[in-house]
Symmetry: C2
Subunit: 306 residues, 2 copies
């Protein structure tokens, strides 16, 4: 088969306490991409809809990944890539990760699946580097594996799939402003008090524990971030109020998605998620902020053929 | 019944990555204590064997806990306490925690069990304060709950029992030197690089994940401590060599127990644990260091009646 059409999920990284270590994938939001073998032997970005992204292969996350994989595999064919962005880059929802992971997954299929998921994450990290300047694994790991993923180690890269309780939903509000990853990084201190670090890893332990045991309330209590959120929330309009309203209306917890500006909440059950979404959105209707809002199950799989 | 004879387990706190947040209890090592109701209405430490500890009630960990519980419950009786220490205080194996938790458990029984386990941990923390100067929860939580325990939060106190894979053993070597908890604390930096903190909580996620999924190798790979071990190992004779030999002989991983000087290793299976114990002990035989060595299953329960 010479064509692959895939869905590559949006991802929420950090997940409050799990800064730079935990991410999850969304079932209901992501990009669509089409890959076609070509005889030219080259990678070409033939079309991008929904966002202004570079068509140059070596500047485009998907292009970089596809090129490196074809070279690594010594492939005799090239690939034409069409990208339909379904949500804005700069959202904090792993937009470049979706492109990167989508390319890694599709090109791997075209090559006859020589690569394991962790290797696909490694290739995808090259796309992250092209788009964001550093080889971050969390979002691409979420997009490749689906569900919740822990980046246990970078050297060597080790990813651990964490089970997702079946009734867990995410609500994501995306205020339509741009927060540059580099600004969001710059505002963080380089050193943190040991006390804060201990609080953070105790909550990571609680979150992982709650995911394994299906203890929704424990998941909620563990969604605490004393490391990045206090600094990054300043970039996000009415963050405290949106979070407060999410929890007051029944969310287990809420926090910043990736480096923002999107705000995520985790909720048990779809009907509760709809209430939480309304309450979060109300803040941006009363204090007008242009925004999009999404309700989604946690994806139980990563990139998939559509 | 007017007498309670109990076994209160030794505990390994920190467990490498879980500094100040994770502990586990040993099945085969702990103190024995006897509690007898008396009519005087007072708490009395009537006998201590195996260690030189204060007989004054308000300086003795067990005495402090018993007194506070009787007062809180407005009890009409007093308690005589006998303590048989089976291992040295200052070992890094929760000696004062064993006394504190033992008292909390036994006095609760004599009162008709009005208190939940988490409340017993809170009372036990008063014993820790009397003995060590601060209300640390990890060791007492391990001793009360048994198995692996996570201190998810101090305010409010929340403890999470983590399942223990059935073939998990601990080997503990206790060089017979004293490391004062306050010295072990003083040597730690107050601030740590965010990078190190992220590595630490990624490993906490891995450890908790490995315990839930029974993935022994993941448990082993997660036993990494970049926060305390690099500073505290200087207090422990031949630490690097003992750890190296433990791992070379089949341990999943190894680290400092509590604030030291004991060194623990986690191992899959008893026969492997015996090999690991030999290899660890060999270091202290070749480079003579007076020591004790213990092989134990992880206790699947906390303080118990004997």
């Amino acid at each position: 088969m010479d064509t692959r059409r895939i869905f590559s999920p949006a991802t929420v990284a950090n997940v409050s306490c799990g800064f730079d270590a935990i991410a999850f994938a969304l079932e209901a939001l992501g990009d669509e991409m089409t890959f076609r073998k070509n005889e030219s032997g080259e990678v070409r970005i033939t079309r991008i809809e929904g966002a202004e992204l570079p068509l140059e292969v070596d500047k485009n996350a998907a292009g970089v990944v596809a090129q490196r994989m074809l070279t690594a595999a010594n492939a005799s064919f090239g690939v034409d890539i069409e990208i339909q962005k379904k949500y804005k880059p700069g959202s904090g929802l792993g937009s470049s990760a979706a492109s990167s992971a989508g390319a890694a997954f599709a090109v791997n299929q075209m090559l006859g699946e020589p690569y394991e998921p962790t290797q696909l994450v490694k290739f995808s990290m090259l796309g992250e580097e092209a788009a964001c300047g550093s080889q971050i694994a969390d979002n691409v790991a979420g997009a490749i594996f689906g569900g919740f993923v822990l980046v246990r180690s970078y050297h060597p890269l080790e990813l651990v799939s964490i089970p997702t309780p079946s009734e867990l939903f995410a609500v994501v509000v995306h205020p339509q402003i741009e927060v540059k990853t580099e600004d969001a990084r710059r505002v963080l201190p380089k050193q943190i008090p040991v006390k804060h670090a201990v609080a953070q890893w105790a909550n990571v332990g609680g979150l992982i524990s709650g995911l394994y045991s299906g203890d929704y309330d424990l998941i909620g209590r563990s969604l605490v971030d004393v490391v990045a959120e206090p600094f990054r929330k300043e970039f996000i309009p009415h963050f405290d109020l949106v979070k407060e309203q999410a929890i007051a209306s029944g969310a287990l917890g809420a926090g910043i998605s990736g480096s923002g500006p999107s705000i995520f909440a985790l909720v048990k059950g779809r009907s509760q998620a709809e209430k939480v979404a309304k309450a979060m959105e109300a803040v941006y209707l009363e204090n007008p902020v242009d925004h999009k809002i999404y309700i989604s199950k946690i994806a139980n799989r990563g990139v998939r053929i559509i």
